[in-house]
């Protein structure tokens, strides 16, 4: 179940990384904000859950584009610079949310609970719903990428110069990429909100998981992300039964094993390296 | 039937049944030729014929799909680029790649890198031997600077130089690494006639030191003037191999170039 959520966030991350060569540190924060938006829309405004989800994905997509226009566009001079810039934004997002939504107590921050019922079915049904929506989104994404726009995105991912020579406007592709990438994170957050909660710290944890998914599944590949998130989801819950807190270590061991046998990740060809090659 | 090759018996480089494919794209197909020690070989062909790809395969940046490259009697396919460089094959790149933030002097000093005998630790500790070697290297760089005529510019940042001089720096670097086989990728493309003539002189001088040179070039006059032998590639295959005067009249070659122009 949670694998579906990982898949969404990781796919968004991979997309942005592949097309724009940007390592989006803030990917987790879009997830967190998406959850809060969903909570806000569904609980505070009382609108139906599905509407909340749609608003999550759209608002996060929009935010992603805004981040691009406001920050990334100006700091695009090198991989390191974009890393620092997205990291800075993620700090702003996280800290800003902490200040807006909850004070920080000594160890645990305040947690905002969003408990939403999905058409009379209690939480387990909710989990199925998540998988359903996740699959729906991934499949639509898959077909979307087959369209002309999708091929343009892939062209830009291959080579920005060649793509612009072919008449593709990179800026518009960037808007789209950021929009989709962050929107994916947003809807993931919206999906998880009723099942767990919306807390300000959830962004960091999911980001690490997304990275693990990407590392195990292969850095350029969507199918890899999908596969890896399922595997990770299973391993994580399984390991929790045995070692509790250290279940993350179990995943790292999994990562080490997979990397040993398949250095590029499960499906991977590692992406063209953005630094000085 | 070329007669040039019988003068030199020792092939320094042999390319045997060499093919290189990228996915479905065949960049090099069944190439077969030899280069003799001390020769000045020109590698020509229309754009996209695979000349730079061939350089990349020889220097280890690409692995051949089939076939092999033999250097001084030993196979080198599969070695890392730095290992191949250490064996004496040095190349320049098409889009002059230098350390733009370093001075000309430092760039050429980097080129000497291969020749440092002193181990890393001794260099770090600045032992007498390392210091002496450093001084020797710097002297050598100075010599090369004067040889190529870049002495005035030695403290300029490489990134600030005009293109033609950057090319000269690249050649100087290649020279500094004491190659036995030098691969020049388009050394005079984009240069005006004066710069071209100067560069050609340098190349002749380098050859005078006994270094074997393979040169990729589009500038036909330069190539015809300086090369003893030409190999012509088209669509990754060798279509001609011989003296410049023969190549000039070769039907296949003319067609290859003309055919491309019509595209």
């Amino acid at each position: 179940m949670i694998g579906g959520v990982y898949a969404l966030v990781a796919s968004g991350f991979t997309l942005i990384l592949g097309v724009m060569k940007i390592f989006n540190f803030a990917q987790g924060q879009f997830y967190m904000l998406g959850a809060f938006v969903a909570y806000g829309v569904a609980v505070s405004l009382g609108l139906p859950y599905v509407v909340a989800l749609i608003i999550s994905i759209l608002s996060m997509g929009l935010l992603g584009v805004l981040v691009y226009i406001g920050i990334i566009k100006w700091t695009y001079s090198g991989f390191f610079q974009t890393v620092m810039a997205t990291f800075a934004f993620s700090t702003i997002a996280k800290q800003g949310s902490l200040l807006t939504f909850g004070y920080r107590e000594k160890v645990l921050p305040a947690v905002v609970r969003g408990i939403i019922e999905v058409s009379n079915v209690t939480v387990p049904g909710g989990k199925l719903f998540i998988i359903f929506v996740a699959i729906l989104v991934m499949v639509s994404l898959h077909y979307f990428l087959k369209l002309k726009v999708g091929t343009s995105m892939r062209a830009v991912a291959e080579s920005m110069d060649v793509a612009s020579l072919q008449g593709i406007n990179p800026t518009r592709i960037f808007y789209l990429t950021m929009g989709i990438g962050c929107g994916l994170s947003g809807i993931a957050g919206g999906l998880i909100a009723p099942v767990f909660c919306a807390s300000v710290l959830m962004g960091e944890r999911i980001f690490i998981m997304a990275l693990l998914v990407v590392a195990i599944g292969g850095m350029g590949s969507m199918t890899g992300a999908l596969l890896a998130s399922c595997v990770i989801g299973v391993v994580e819950s399984f390991a929790y039964q045995f070692v509790g807190e250290l279940n993350l270590v179990a995943i790292f061991i999994l990562l080490a094993v997979i990397i040993y046998f398949r250095p590029g990740g499960l499906m991977g060809k590692p992406l063209p390296i953005p630094t000085a090659e | 039937m070329s007669i040039g090759r019988s003068h030199w018996k020792v092939p320094i480089l042999e390319v045997r049944k060499l093919s290189k494919e990228f996915g479905g794209l065949r960049a090099l197909h069944n190439l077969e030729f030899e280069v003799s020690k001390g020769e000045m070989l020109g590698l020509i062909g229309p754009n996209g014929a695979g000349k730079t790809t061939l350089f990349n395969v020889i220097t280890g940046f690409y692995q051949p799909t089939t076939g092999k490259v033999i250097y001084e009697g030993k196979g080198i396919s599969g070695l890392e680029p730095y290992e191949i460089a250490q064996k004496g094959i040095v190349r320049t790149f098409q889009g002059t790649i230098l350390s733009m933030d370093s001075t000309v002097f430092d760039n050429i000093l980097m080129g000497c890198h291969l020749n440092f005998r002193a181990g890393v630790i001794r260099d770090f500790l600045h032992t007498a031997a390392a210091v002496r070697e450093d001084r020797e290297m710097r002297q050598r760089v100075q010599e090369i600077l004067e040889f190529i005529g870049l002495d005035q510019l030695k403290n300029e940042l490489a990134g600030n130089l005009p293109h033609g001089q950057q090319r000269a720096v690249a050649v100087a670097m290649a020279l500094a690494s004491n190659p036995r086989l030098l691969l020049l990728d388009e050394p005079v493309t984009g240069m005006n006639p004066v710069e071209t003539a100067t560069m050609m002189d340098h190349i002749r001088n380098i050859r005078g030191r006994g270094i074997t040179i393979i040169m990729v070039e589009h500038d036909m006059r330069a190539v015809m003037n300086i090369c003893q032998r030409l190999i012509v590639l088209n669509y990754g295959q060798k279509i001609a191999d011989g003296l410049p005067v023969e190549i000039r009249q070769n039907k296949d070659v003319i067609e290859a170039y003309l055919g491309r122009e019509e595209e």
């Binding site: 920050i71 390191f80 | 730095y82 000093l109």
Partner: protein, 308 residues
């Protein structure tokens, strides 16, 4: 001559500044060592996000060996450093050949792993860390005040600094510069890129651990929280603010500025990260080469004016 004056100044420093500033300086020196390590790897265009974890390794080595095994302080520095070097060597050997992006991603994951493991293990004190470490001692002379720590830090930083300086001006340093200008370029010059990068990673890990041992001995306690991902990013910030292209001076300037300036701007702990983040973004946009970059530009254009 100028060097002599600087050295003199540094020696007299504890008696010139007040105690609080001295403490800040001690922390700054720790940070400088870390930032130097980051810049070393950056010279070969490797970005690493795990330095705080190696910092932790040094700190924990000292902490554990002194509290649980009763060791004297001095050998623990070496043990921590070697441990860090070995781990860095192991991870680096696997990730460096696969390229900068893989190295970067794994540095982050491994850094997290190290921190989480140290924090979660009860035998290392769990999340509460290690407390009441004994101070270092030379024979019967026990470290009591800030001055002693200051000179220890100066010594360690000095060793670090000189080592890097010598390396930068040698064949290796030129090799790293070449790699930084282009991996293919360096390869064609005969440089074994993987080996050069690996040595940078291992060396910087070693000195970061040394810095960790130093910090632990000064604080006399260790909290795993202070060695997290956030700190690793902070280290990058020092180099960024100081000057990305200045591999020795940049870290010094950056660490000093980012440690001292917040002291004079009294902002709440909540706002501070946001402010820092905004500063980072502004620096990237307006001062891409850091403070020293700006200084360099001013210096060069003043030369130009003078030569007219």
């Amino acid at each position: 001559m100028a060097l002599g004056l600087v050295v003199l100044f540094l020696i007299l420093l504890p008696w010139i500044v007040d105690k609080y500033s001295l403490q800040l300086i001690i922390y700054t020196m720790t940070y400088i060592m870390l930032a130097l390590g980051f810049s070393l790897c950056w010279k070969g265009r490797l970005i690493r996000v795990d330095l705080a974890a190696y910092w932790a390794i040094g700190a924990y080595a000292t902490g554990m060996l002194m509290t649980k095994a009763g060791w004297s302080y001095w050998p623990t520095i070496l043990v921590g450093g070697l441990l860090a070097a070995i781990i860095a060597w192991g991870v680096g050997s696997l990730t460096i050949p696969r390229g900068g992006l893989v190295f970067f991603t794994f540095s982050m994951l491994v850094g997290l792993l190290i921190q989480q493991t140290l924090a979660a293990s009860k035998s290392f004190g769990g999340w509460a860390g290690i407390e009441s470490m004994p101070p270092p001692a030379i024979g019967s002379f026990v470290f009591k005040g800030k001055t002693e720590y200051y000179f220890l830090g100066l010594f360690l930083l000095g060793v670090n600094f000189v080592t890097y300086y010598l390396l930068y001006n040698s064949k290796i340093g030129r090799g790293w510069t070449a790699i930084g200008s282009g991996v293919g370029f360096a390869k064609s010059l005969g440089i074994n890129v993987v080996r050069y990068r690996l040595s940078a990673v291992v060396l910087s890990s070693f000195f970061c651990a040394v810095s960790g041992s130093y910090l632990a001995s000064y604080q006399m306690y260790i909290i795993p929280d202070s060695f997290g991902f956030h700190q690793s990013m902070m280290i990058q910030m020092f180099s960024l603010v100081g000057g990305l292209n200045n591999f020795l001076a940049g870290p010094v300037v950056g660490a000093a500025v980012m440690t001292f300036i917040p002291e004079y701007l009294k902002v709440t702990a909540e706002i501070e990260p946001i402010l820092t983040a905004v500063v980072i973004i502004l620096v990237i946009i307006f001062m891409p080469l850091g403070i020293l970059g700006v200084v360099g530009k001013v210096w060069r254009s003043s030369l130009f004016v003078r030569n007219r």
